[in-house]
Amino acid sequence: MKWLKWIGLLCVFFGSSLSGQSYMSAATDDDALARKYAQEIASIERGRLVYQQACEACHGANGDGNGPYAEALNPRPRDFTSGQYKFRSTPGGSLPTDNDLYNTVANGVPRTFMPPWKNLLSEENIRDVVAYIKTFSPLFREREPETPIVIASEPPPATEESIFEGEQVYKIMECWSCHGAKGHGDGPSAGELEDDWGHKIKPFNFAIGRYKSGEGPRAIYKAINTGLDGTPMPSYREDYLYPRDAFDDLSNLEEVYPQSEIDELRQYLDTIPTEAQLEEMSEEEQESLAEKRRWALVHYVQSLSQKGSLLRTLFFDNTDETQ
């Protein structure tokens, strides 16, 4: 908490400069900065009180995710000292934005012990506790979060074609390595996965639905393309411009797919642009192709959820509760 003290001192200094008559001529920029710091300090202090009552039992007094209840929880509470967060709108490896943290605290995390705090805490309470949580990791003082990735506010609707293409993207990207050919979380690499803290972690079984990162296609898009930092789930954002001629050998798919499924992929590959054709495309055309494939994968993953049939996925399931 050295940092707090330091900012506190700074705050007193600026504070006095604000009230002192002799400093009235100080640049208004400094005044604004001083007020901003003072507000931040106050927010962090209020946040600490909220944290002690609402968060500490699991996340620990030091924010290291080792509170008294942590041992009994699976998945374990987040370790705030690492600055690594699963649920972000920012690219992989980046810090989350304040809004990302706000959303996680407010909406909670389904299928874990993290409840939606918006039912119990005011908006200001949550903003304050977010400010306090950030003080646990030095990274928030050293870096800025990167710009959030762009996610279409109105995703393209799922169609039979997009789900089919998404299934082929799923095969190409080898999502099945961990998530399994049917998305049941039982791929060949599933058994030995660990998170960054060395705790066992399982790939998600898409049949369950109820994503930790939120409901709806935009949340799935976000998870695939930002990755879930601190877990084995990487970011796939830059990988969608694959050319037809990069797939001579598909034999590694035989590990989990029957020949008919591999043939299906082969048919799809015959319809996509070659490397030379990709290079001839403008940047906009390339991006639109990549974006089409990104959403196709989302549609396929979403179609694996058993709560919805194909029909439901097509016509009813495009709501997005995270927003």
Partner: protein, 231 residues
């Protein structure tokens, strides 16, 4: 005239010394494993057996060669002289993922210099780093993506792992001066171009930790510093 002669004689005397200094000295030596080395542990290939399992895999975290030479020890000068030619570490810095191992297992790369990470296997790997000072990343490298380029701003040693193939672990050593070396399969290392002086030398091994020694290098000479490391 007399004054001019003296200048020449002085210059002639200084020149060879200067030459010796500019040539610099070298540090060489061997790192050995102290005690009875454990038998190499074979790793079970659980995925992509036809690509990864062509040759048997052994746990790379402790490799002891002939005469107990310890491989993959990072030898670093902790009080490096100023300047130094980074190109003595090499011109291109690359890690290859081939047969589901990282080659080299320990990769030195200067700060702000591109590190190329190749996927020679033609199957999905993911590049998951555990850096603290440099932003860590976890990105996919699917079968069609042959090359990923990354640069690092701060000197730091950290692991890189592949979650798809859990046994794949390597280390990236980001350095801000050229006076580093990694021991070969016989435990030998050599650091060149060191001006005369007394140096603190650090030996770091991923499993056996860190030891530090002091060494004095004379101009143009090669100093030898052998150490042993134990569990």
């Amino acid at each position: 005239m007399c004054k001019f002669n003296k200048l020449w004689i002085t210059l002639l005397l200084i020149f060879p010394l200067g030459l010796l200094y500019s040539q610099g000295g070298s540090l060489t030596g061997k790192v050995t494993f102290e005690g009875e080395p454990p038998a190499p542990q074979e790793v079970k290939i659980t995925k992509d057996a036809n690509v990864c399992g062509k040759e048997p895999h052994y746990d790379e975290s402790l490799l002891v060669g002939e005469n107990k030479g310890l491989q993959n020890v990072v030898v670093s000068i902790m009080n490096p002289p100023k300047g130094g030619d980074m190109s003595q570490l090499g011109k291109e810095f690359a890690i290859h993922q081939m047969g589901c191992t990282y080659t080299p297992h320990i990769c030195l790369v200067p700060v702000n210099t591109p590190l190329l990470i190749y996927n020679d296997d033609g199957i999905l790997h993911n590049l998951h780093t555990y850096s603290k000072k440099n932003p860590s990343f976890n990105i996919s490298q699917p079968k069609f993506k042959k090359k990923v380029k990354k640069t690092f701003k701060y000197p730091e040693t950290f692991p890189i792992k592949c979650d798809v193939h859990g046994w794949m672990v390597g280390y990236i050593v980001v350095v801000d001066h050229p006076y580093h070396a990694v021991t070969n399969e016989n435990g030998e290392y050599k650091i060149e171009g060191l001006p005369a002086g007394t140096y603190q030398v650090q030996f770091w091994h991923e499993k056996l930790g860190t030891i530090q020694k002091e060494v004095t290098i004379e101009a143009g000479a090669t100093a030898t510093l052998d150490v042993s490391m134990k569990m």
